[in-house]
């Protein structure tokens, strides 16, 4: 089986690693700005599929199929994002005779509509967040909208049926802001997903985001895994994930996992997928949506269960039966936590910070896994999600995992651009985070309360050390004459000479 990876960045690298371990050749695809990307280096073959904007490359089904044809690939792994949850792509692969490493087009379609998925969950006997069962028709009157909101109750969320990542979503506290919120959400959803349909969901006050990873094979077996908690979100985007959750007891785990399994069975689900729930303060949980793909945060599950989800995706696609002990999948071993390292400047409101990466020294050592997607010399482009790596720490307890994560974050160096590492260093010492007192609103609240304070806090000695280092660097450049003063660094060749200079 030769696998074309219809993706880029760390997930493409992750999948190439799995393929290599299984002895399978790989085909990468790349856009203009990704010619020098790591996934292109690492794959056995690589095909250019167009200009940098995703709509002209990574989202072009025709070019991806052409690339598979030109390289003799017989399977496609979509990763996450881009076309991973696009039923038309899964169908086009199937029609072109390619194995799509993911669920069936039907399952993607069924679970892709948020209201459709809610209906499936309800029929499977799984509670959903109270809300409207059907999206509003474009012609719905203001009266119909207000009445529906009254039935659901306030506070509520207006959500796009085709939504994701917080797009087309608006919180409504009181009836007077309702109609305006619906209008905004519709217009945002229209431009983001080409679909203006929206619906209402009751907004829980302090919900935690709990999700169940599962695997389904082509022989009807579905295995649910220990939960992940992903409540640490910035503007509805997950930034830290962990497993297990402090808020889930073994008994509750069993119930949530069984609920997830029922929904997946009802959807006829195969491959890796995740069912997201909201967990209320009183311990009740509600189906939120299903992600019909591998998720960014899959490594935390791998680390507490020792099961390789990408290997299994491929084995399932090859027709293999799941041979995972269901009890083991639900019994977490230790604790794992993941930080998504983005090329963003946390001191500028998490503004993307693309640019040339001059050096990378990834954290390593005991209990540390780094799933990276970049190399020194690569320029982080402006066209895509800015995640450049995922850092995962495992330890016997949550406390030890946080301490290990902090150790690793201090080690991690990405030179030339700014990343979210300093933000995570701060978070690892935030009392409410450390004690597990958080819900999905926690991070936005605590960030707002900081009023833009810098994360680059320095002690007085550190500040002095930085001034000294910069002074010595400037002194060297001035005395060596080897580089003009506007160029801060010489070559590897020259650095030997510089060492001598500093010694002298």
């Amino acid at each position: 089986m030769k696998i074309l990876i219809a993706n880029r960045g760390e997930i493409a690298v992750r999948i190439i690693r799995a393929c290599r371990e299984m002895g399978l050749p790989t085909v990468a695809v790349y856009s203009d700005c990704d010619r020098g990307a790591r996934h292109v280096r690492d794959a056995d073959q690589a095909v250019h599929i167009g200009p940098s904007p995703p709509s002209q490359s990574y989202l072009r089904i025709d070019r991806l199929l052409d690339a598979a044809r030109a390289t003799g690939a017989d399977a496609v792994h979509p990763g996450y994002g881009f076309l991973a949850e696009n039923a038309a792509f899964a169908r086009a692969c199937r029609d072109a005779g390619l194995t799509f490493i993911g669920p069936s087009p039907d399952a993607i379609e069924k679970m892709g509509s948020k209201t459709g998925a809610r209906a499936i969950a309800t029929r499977a006997g799984v509670p959903v967040v109270p809300g409207t069962d059907e999206p509003f028709a474009a012609a719905a009157t203001d009266r119909q909208i207000v009445d529906a909101a009254t039935r659901v109750g306030y506070p509520l969320l207006v959500k796009a049926v085709a939504g994701g990542g917080g797009k087309g979503m608006r919180a409504v506290e009181t009836p007077d802001s309702l109609l305006n919120a619906v209008r905004t959400a519709r217009s945002e959803a229209g431009s983001a997903f080409g679909d203006t349909a929206v619906y209402f969901e009751r907004r829980l006050i302090r919900p935690r985001h709990i999700e169940i990873q599962l695997l389904g094979d082509c022989h009807g077996t579905i295995v649910p895994f220990v939960e992940r908690e992903c409540s640490i979100q910035r503007r509805h985007q997950k930034v830290v994930e962990e497993s297990p959750s402090l808020a889930v007891t073994p008994a509750l785990r069993g119930r949530i996992a069984a609920a997830a399994q029922s929904v997946a069975k009802a959807a006829g689900y195969t491959s890796a997928g995740t069912i997201e729930f909201l967990l209320d303060e009183d311990g009740s949980f509600y189906f939120l949506e299903m992600n019909t793909r591998l998720q960014v945060e899959h490594p935390v599950t791998e680390m507490v269960t020792s099961i390789d989800l990408v290997h299994w995706q491929i084995r399932i696609a090859q027709g293999e039966r799941l041979s995972i002990d269901p009890e083991r999948a639900l019994a977490p071993h230790g604790h794992a936590i993941e930080c998504r390292i983005y090329a963003e400047d946390p001191d500028q409101g998490f503004m993307p910070s693309p640019g040339l990466i001059r050096g990378v020294r990834a954290a390593s050592g005991p209990g540390i896994r780094n799933d990276g997607g970049v190399v020194a010399g690569y320029t982080v482009p402006v066209f895509y999600d800015s995640m450049i790596a995922k850092l995962i720490a495992w330890a016997e307890s949550r406390g030890a995992a946080l301490a290990r994560m902090e150790r690793a974050l201090r080690e991690y160096e990405v030179l030339g651009i700014r990343t979210t590492i300093p933000f995570f260093l701060w978070l690892m010492r935030e009392p409410d985070f450390v004690d597990g007192r958080f819900d999905t609103t926690y991070l936005d609240q605590v960030l707002a309360s900081r009023r833009g304070d810098s994360f680059m806090t320095l002690t007085e000695p550190e500040e002095t050390e930085l001034a000294i280092a910069a002074g010595l660097d400037a002194w060297w450049r001035a005395t060596s004459g080897a580089a003009s003063s506007s160029r801060a660094s010489g070559s590897a060749w020259k650095s030997a000479a510089r060492q001598d200079a500093l010694r002298g």
């Binding site: 990542g165 503007r235 985007q237 409101g349 998490f350 503004m351 993307p352 693309p354 001059r358 050096g359 402006v382 895509y384 999600d385 800015s386 974050l409 201090r410 080690e411 160096e413 990405v414 030179l415 030339g416 651009i417 700014r418 590492i421 300093p422 260093l425 833009g452 810098s454 994360f455 680059m456 806090t457 320095l458 550190e462 500040e463 002095t464 050390e465 930085l466 001034a467 000294i468 280092a469 910069a470 002074g471 010595l472 660097d473 400037a474 002194w475 060297w476 001035a478 005395t479 003063s485 506007s486 160029r487 801060a488 660094s489 010489g490 590897a492 060492q499 500093l502 010694r503 002298g504």
Partner: protein
């Protein structure tokens, strides 16, 4: 040799000279306080500092060039710190600083994107770091902030406009 070095917004005077003939030994003064520093380059970006006088305390700092003349991005124990060496001199040499000289500062698009919302109007007073415009880029909405307290002199874009990197969006005076 003396340099003016801005670390995290604070400017220090740093003097550097060799300490005797011992290799890698320097006398470095920071705002008049001088220490013996044992310094060593490691690789292209690394510098290892030891302070024999401070119970042998040590630190490792990596310095990579930034985007502006004299700007350095330093890496210290997980944090990325902006350092500017002889910034005033560099600014004096620079060409594109006329606005700065008049106390005017521009909020520019840091990357290609689409203006989602303009949060201020011409003539409005703004605080330092107050969000003034929202630009969508790299799949995220990004708030751009005012670089200083002042008044909005000009709003050069409207919501919905696609902008290139470097395009002036708002001018603060």
């Amino acid at each position: 040799m003396t340099f003016e070095i801005e670390v995290n917004g604070r400017t220090r005077r740093v003097s550097v000279e060799r300490a005797g003939t011992e290799p890698g030994q320097f006398l470095v003064g920071v705002d008049g306080t001088t220490k013996v520093v044992d310094a060593r380059r490691v690789g292209e970006f690394g510098i290892s500092l030891l302070f024999p006088g401070d119970a042998h305390a040590g630190t490792a700092i990596d310095l990579a060039p930034g985007s502006a003349p004299g700007e350095v991005l330093a890496h210290l124990a997980g944090r990325t710190i902006r350092i500017v060496v002889n910034g005033r001199r560099a600014a004096r040499r620079g060409a594109d600083t006329s606005g700065t000289a008049h106390g005017e500062q521009k909020v520019t698009a840091p990357m290609p994107g689409r203006v989602v919302r303009v949060l201020v109007a011409q003539g409005e007073g703004v605080a330092a770091r107050q969000p003034v415009v929202v630009v969508e880029a790299m799949k995220m909405e990004n708030e751009l902030r005012s670089p200083k307290a002042g008044r909005v002199k000009d709003v050069a874009v409207e919501a919905g406009t696609s902008v290139e990197a470097g395009r002036v969006l708002i001018v603060i005076e």
